[in-house]
């Protein structure tokens, strides 16, 4: 295949994957009448749709909620995941193999089984309509434990022994000696966890009814499906754009990390 055909196909791909997003941003700025057209530029650009969204729904609050929830979960998954991964790879204790098997097993359980009972548990604990309800059930993942364990196995035993001989406690060993060596896994687990929680809608829809506690994708979903957008395309596209902007910003800075992390976790998962 000649290289020019290759480039033509690749550029068609760029248009195919990129155009809808550009169209979304442009549509969010256009007056209602012009949104249907394929043109991306209009002389009548205005921020009216954004004003309508911001006046109608607490979108900034939702952004903060999403941030709080996603960051808490990510930190927790990294801290606890690395602790268990460390214990499984560098410490000796009874039931180590059993624990490892249990973790492997939990990865195979489809979430469809535990979804309803987990919701009921939240009701009993009184954690519906709270940050705790959004954060607690995701605080640890089998996937992160396995990634950490696998990575820690490659850290030479002699290094660990040397630190122990010097009287290093296990906590200091993990957080001061092993962590700095583990940047790649920490980034992978961090990005994958953060994106999963940031983009999740099903769980927030189930346990959050209170508008001021809704996460960003949830609030936008409600806005679009619940009639508040009054079936107007402009505000819908504006809300979608607002939802996409944080990800667009993060992605444009860290795209290499995003792609590498998600690809490597996909292969191992």
């Amino acid at each position: 295949m000649s290289n020019s055909i290759r480039y033509i196909l690749l550029v068609i791909g760029v248009v195919g994957f990129g155009y809808p997003f550009v169209w979304m941003i442009s549509g969010s700025l256009k007056p209602e009448m012009e949104i249907g057209s394929l043109a991306l530029w209009s002389v009548n650009f205005s921020l009216d749709s954004y004003r309508y969204v911001i006046d109608t729904i607490p979108i900034t609050r939702a952004f903060l909620n999403s941030m709080i929830v996603s960051l808490s979960v990510t930190i927790s998954v990294i801290v606890f995941g690395s602790m268990v991964g460390f214990a499984l790879s560098k410490m000796r204790f009874i039931g180590r193999e059993l624990l490892f098997l249990i973790i492997l097993f939990t990865m195979m359980i489809p979430f469809q089984i535990t979804l309803i009972p987990q919701y009921i548990l939240m009701v009993w604990l009184g954690w519906t309509d709270s940050y705790l309800g959004l954060i607690a059930p995701s605080m640890m993942t089998a996937f992160s434990v396995l990634l950490f364990r696998q990575f820690f196995l490659s850290i030479p035993e002699s290094l660990i022994d040397a630190a122990r001989v010097d009287g290093c406690t296990n906590f200091r060993l993990l957080f001061q000696i092993v962590w700095p060596l583990s940047r790649p896994v920490i980034i992978t687990v961090g990005i994958v966890t953060f994106m999963t929680i940031w983009n999740d809608v099903l769980w927030p829809i189930i346990i959050i009814r209170e508008r001021s506690l809704m996460t960003m994708p949830q609030l936008v979903t409600l806005f679009v499906t619940g009639g508040e957008a009054e079936a107007r395309l402009g505000p819908m596209l504006a809300s979608a754009t607002l939802l996409a902007v944080p990800v667009i910003v993060a992605y444009s800075f860290f795209q290499r990390y995003f792609i590498d992390s998600m690809a490597s976790s996909g292969l191992k998962g």
Partner: protein, 297 residues
């Protein structure tokens, strides 16, 4: 006696600190994995709307499930989704991975554009595509009419709606699989192609007899990941169609959600979740088996 001795020996050998490291996971596992799992098996045998006390009805929920046409329609819809989504995904991802796998300028740029829809929230993608698919004045129908065809009833006709959602989902996820195939292509030793060139094998034969077999592990991963993803199809129909028209986009997850949270049929929803999870496990294990035997035959 021997076992006791061994356990004691092992206990003395184990580090006390280790317990502190795994304690958080044990608490988490008990509360959010083991307990819900056990409770789901109890819930299956009850009628319960969460407000009034639970009522034991034996296998009632399961009997009802096997007579519930709508559940089987929802599972069927999900399978229709998968049957369109997976092959399309593999073909498109493979084509783009092959296009990218050569000395090409701006490879990083192309990669990041193709990958972007995968990173963005499904809600964003769904809202945008809802407009693109609009029957009267959607962008896609405008293009279709340029070429002189009739408008396509993307989301409004029962036999078009699920394929349309599958097309959108492919567009959203294919970036991940392009990258996975690229990684796979890079692991194929170049000597294989050199040897084939010397033997005079055509590019197409090289693709069939070197590239495809060597990519088999990646294809298995893509198959299983997109199967699991496809079975949890929820937000796309929830936002786009609400399951319509005529329940043609009612996915199994959406049906379970409706039973639990619109009708408060907790016991029945738990039964649906359990049976659906068993279906998922069976399909995934079956796929594994088929693909693996294909590979070694």
């Amino acid at each position: 006696m021997n076992i006791v001795k061994r356990v004691i020996a092992k206990y003395n050998d184990s580090e006390r600190g280790a317990f502190l490291f795994i304690l958080p996971y044990i608490i988490f596992f008990t509360a959010f994995v083991a307990y819900p799992l056990i409770f789901s098996f109890i819930l299956v045998f009850h009628r319960w709307n969460i407000v009034t006390p639970m009522e034991w009805i034996g296998p009632g929920n399961l009997i009802r499930l096997f007579q519930d046409d709508l559940f089987f329609k929802a599972v069927g819809n999900t399978l229709i989704f998968l049957v369109i989504h997976i092959p399309l995904q593999i073909v498109v991802a493979l084509v783009f991975a092959l296009l990218l796998y050569s000395k090409i300028k701006g490879r990083g740029f192309f990669r990041s554009v193709y990958f972007f829809p995968f990173v963005v929230s499904g809600v964003v993608v769904t809202i945008v595509w809802m407009q693109l698919y609009s029957y009267e004045d959607g962008v896609l129908n405008t293009i279709v009419m340029w070429f002189g065809f009739e408008r396509i009833p993307w989301l409004v006709h029962p036999s078009y709606a699920m394929p349309s959602i599958a097309l959108m989902a492919t567009w959203k996820n294919v970036g991940l699989y392009i990258i996975l195939f690229l990684v796979g292509l890079q692991t194929i030793p170049s000597q294989l192609y050199e040897a084939a060139n010397i033997d005079g094998a055509s590019k197409i034969r090289q693709f069939r007899h070197i590239t495809l077999p060597m990519l088999n592990p990646t294809i298995v991963v893509v198959f299983i990941l997109s199967t699991i993803g496809g079975f949890s199809l929820f937000i796309e129909p929830y936002v786009m169609t609400g399951g319509g028209p005529m329940n043609s986009t009612l996915s199994a997850m959406l049906y379970i959600y409706n039973q639990a949270f619109n009708f408060s049929h907790m016991g029945y929803a738990a039964a649906l979740g359990l049976v659906f999870a068993l279906i998922i496990l069976m399909v995934v294990l079956f796929q594994r088996k088929v693909i693996e035997t294909e590979a070694y035959s």
